[in-house]
Symmetry: C2
Subunit: 551 residues, 2 copies
């Protein structure tokens, strides 16, 4: 009997271990041959111009799992954030398994399927809050928790070898304002039943204390907005429906009417209403109506808190929004955090607003945002409730995961395990350990084409961004003689360098004509000489390609 011939319970993270975003976790149960799988979450990461120019979305490479797709029983979504559901419409065609989600999450996934033209092929199975599913050897219970979006769920995944509590993204909020609060009894009950492993959010594992309550944010927003006299624009993550509701209620309390600005705001409010939330959300004005009101009667609820240049707030700050104008006496409240990497874009937005005379207020000076992720105090509470045998930090960079593991150890969890994407972690039987490394990686959504990160396309474009390009075409006749002047196309290269490259290439061709060589060598010689001439004149080596036309 080999080691893997018996039943095993394994966890295979293919995204989210070592990064914030792109969550993708597969749980497997059974012997190595014939193991059944369920996938928990299927999210994206957003590309960045500096690192991955031209890449909108980054997805996990799930080829290894896709080869086993007959054994993949389901994708289960914990909640509707992009880093948990944003890859479903792109990766589902590789798995073609049922998808399960609670009503609001299902509604958000369906919106994405609709845009991708997949709505008819894939029906989301709606699971009620507190629902329970039997998926092969897995018994999956949805446990309500709190986060910065409606209907976040932890999953209690029961198997014949023990129970895994997979938290998804969460925090503890006694007054979440929208939806249910954390089902503390359920977590306590699970702890009493016995939890094998807690697979848990690490985002704020470096933050002491507690994340704070939405109710306190609402109070702070009310106090702050009560002091403002001119137009007010509040920007927040559109998916934070409780925040949208708070802003609307605060506006009403201070005699302001609300206008939604930005497509995502309209989408989320519609989805929330369709699924039974925001029942008492006020009627919103359209942008034109709002522009007619006196400044102290209006509040704009805007997309664009991260400085996204196409979003509403960036357009307002640039002065080119068709209906919303802000100026001296007006204020913008950033009811949001700064996602690391967005600092410069956000500060640029602040600068533009300052240039218009608009006052900028943010979470730096006012409690107008609370994180949706558990700080160390909340993590400790979760460990006290569930008392797992094994802590598996996920959803975080390495620095967060390591801090989380150390915290778990300090809380007497018998074993804390750091995993990386592609690690096959055996949770049972026996002590948890990584038993295999499967192929993993990232896929780029480049334009509308999926390309493996390893193919190096984004990296090739970074080279272009650094030093531009030289494309040379040589024309040879049937006797290998140069038959015409070459074309030398230079892009992104300073003018004085052009002449240096041209004359170097011409010199090389003259030398070639007097002592002909084979075509391959000629191409390589010309490439080397052109690049070298650029380097001498410029100090940088452009990407250089040489082709030959034969007459």
């Amino acid at each position: 009997m080999t080691r893997h011939a018996t039943d095993e319970l394994v966890l295979l993270p293919l995204g989210g271990a070592g990064e914030i975003g792109m969550n993708f976790n597969a749980y497997g149960f059974g012997p190595e041959d014939g193991r059944k799988w369920i996938v928990v979450d299927c999210g994206v990461l957003f590309g960045r111009e500096g690192n991955t120019p031209g890449i909108d979305l980054i997805l996990p490479d799930i080829s290894w799992l896709a080869e086993r797709r007959d054994d993949v029983l389901a994708i289960v979504a914990t909640h509707a954030h992009e880093d948990h559901i944003g890859a479903i419409h792109l990766l589902w065609p590789m798995l073609r398994c049922p998808v399960y989600a609670t009503p609001f999450t299902a509604r958000m996934i369906e919106g994405k399927l609709e845009e991708a033209g997949l709505r008819e092929r894939l029906k989301i199975n709606i699971v009620p809050l507190h629902g329970r599913l039997k998926l092969g050897p897995f018994d999956v219970e949805f446990v309500s928790i709190t986060h910065s979006i409606p209907e976040p769920n932890a999953l209690a995944i029961r198997t014949p070898l023990g129970t895994v509590v997979h938290t998804g993204d969460w925090k503890l909020d006694p007054e979440p304002l929208i939806g249910e609060s954390t089902d503390a009894n359920a977590f306590r009950r699970l702890g009493d039943e016995g939890v094998l492993a807690l697979v848990c959010d690490s985002t704020n594992a470096l933050v002491e204390g507690e994340s704070g309550s939405e109710a306190k944010v609402r109070e702070a927003l009310s106090t702050l907005i009560g002091t403002l006299k001119g137009r007010v624009a509040v920007t927040a993550f559109a998916s934070n429906v409780a925040r949208l509701d708070s802003v609307a209620k605060v506006a009403k309390a201070h005699g302001r009417e609300v206008a939604l600005v930005g497509r995502a705001m309209h989408k989320i409010v519609a989805a929330a209403r369709d699924t039974g939330y925001l029942a008492d959300f006020p009627n919103v004005l359209d942008e034109e109506e709002a522009a007619e009101l006196p400044p102290h009667r209006v509040l704009y609820l805007c997309t664009g808190s991260q400085g996204e240049w196409r979003a509403a707030l960036s357009r307002i700050a640039a002065g080119d929004h068709p209906n919303v104008k802000l100026g001296p006496g007006d204020a913008v409240v950033f009811s949001s955090r700064i996602i690391p990497g967005n600092e410069l874009a956000i500060f640029e937005l602040h600068n533009k607003l300052a240039g218009l005379g608009v006052e900028v207020l943010s979470a730096e000076d006012h409690f107008v945002h609370a994180s949706g992720h558990p700080a160390r105090g909340e993590l400790a509470q979760m460990y006290r409730w569930t008392r797992p045998q094994i802590a598996v930090p996920v959803h975080g960079e390495l620095r967060h995961m390591h801090a989380h593991a150390r915290l778990a150890e300090s809380l007497q969890v018998p074993q804390a395990v750091n995993v990386e994407n592609g690690h096959l972690l055996r949770l049972a039987p026996g002590r948890a350990q990584v038993i295999d490394e499967t192929p993993s990686g990232r896929i780029h959504l480049d334009g509308q084409v999926l390309v493996a990160e390893g193919a190096g396309l984004a990296r090739a474009r970074r080279s272009l961004a650094f030093a531009g390009m030289i494309a040379i075409t040589l024309v040879l006749d049937s006797k290998d003689r140069v038959a015409a002047d070459p074309t030398i196309i230079l892009e992104g290269i300073p003018e004085p360098v052009h002449e240096a490259v041209r004359s170097a290439v011409e010199g090389a061709l003259r030398r070639y004509n007097s002592k002909r060589d084979d075509e391959e060598k000629l191409r390589e010689t010309v490439r080397r000489i052109a690049r070298g001439a650029a380097e001498d004149a410029w100090g940088k080596k452009p990407v250089t390609r040489v082709e030959v036309v034969r007459l």
Copy 2:
């Protein structure tokens, strides 16, 4: 008599107004014809891959002033940070005027001139601390102040129309540990004499309170390092000589020997010693010697606090530093702030260190860094000392400058003026006002070539980074017929798109051959068709260039 025929005192910021970095301020005195100028500081800004790929340094465009270079009397440097002196070796050839600086600053400028091969052409005039210079109509007094580098100076610039106090970068530190503390009496005395304008650092105008003292940082470092058992690496800005000294003293107190790691550390320590600082700095070990010591006996002082990938700490974290290895039980202390925009690089460095099992300690949790710029409490103190008629916030983004101006107004300064680069601000006679806008802008040091930002080279390369490039060469014979297959060079474009572009171009050429058109139209048609085919297949439009070879 026209308005400008009388003597005027003007300020022309060409860099640093609306940005942190690239400080360049020119003060003019006299009638419009025959106005004499002095330049205060001549600094650079660092390029960023996302915005300005391939650009190391960004400089102010000083062409307007260079046209008047016979009237430019001097460049005066306040202190040796790159954003104040880093452009001297690049821009001095356009001005060719004397340069004045205090000894340490002069030594740092000379190091740069040496590297640029300008050492023989330009001798820096050394001004003693508290020195005073007569430069045409300007009487310039150096006033010692504190900052995060040795020998920071404010300048009291006396003119027949009043005195300007130009602060440079500063903070108030009762115990700066290295060099003189702020000459409070001099600022009080200037206030008593009467200050026309305070031209002042805005960097921390959004920060309440005080920046804190280096002495407190030294205490915190000592407490923290006293708790560490393994190897310790401390990373700090090399130019913060007081910090280097603190770290060395703390190391000694805890029985650790110091090794400097990284070129900038060695350079600064040498420059500081040459100019009379760090007299009791301990003898440092070389990296090989340090590697022989037991872990608790060594402290590495490293460059790379901003995650610069070529710097010492990044190489250590990647495990490819030849002499310095860190692992479990060791710790890295970031005795530095995060410069906005460097977050992801720094966190990536933290992640790599976490991956090695190294503990990361930073200013987030420990008082191991104090800012070198004045928080609002310190700004208020400076306004109380100098009691200027006019506040001119500089050295900051718009958000900082606007906050600074509002603060000055709240402190009863009669006039606070926001200026932008290129604004010619008349300080006297009469109420301060912008009387002209001169051409201004940015120059990129692109490789070793200076290129105007407006030329769009970096922008062109961003386009390449977004969607790659297609370079097509067509071959026509003397009768305008297509005489050979074209070459189509694609770079940074996914494979499936190549075929679509090729077949579209071939189709266009077949149509052309049956109905010939002029060459210019052919090129444009092929360009449009190639780009359109890429867009259809990919969703993005590559930069597309078409050239024609004539046989």
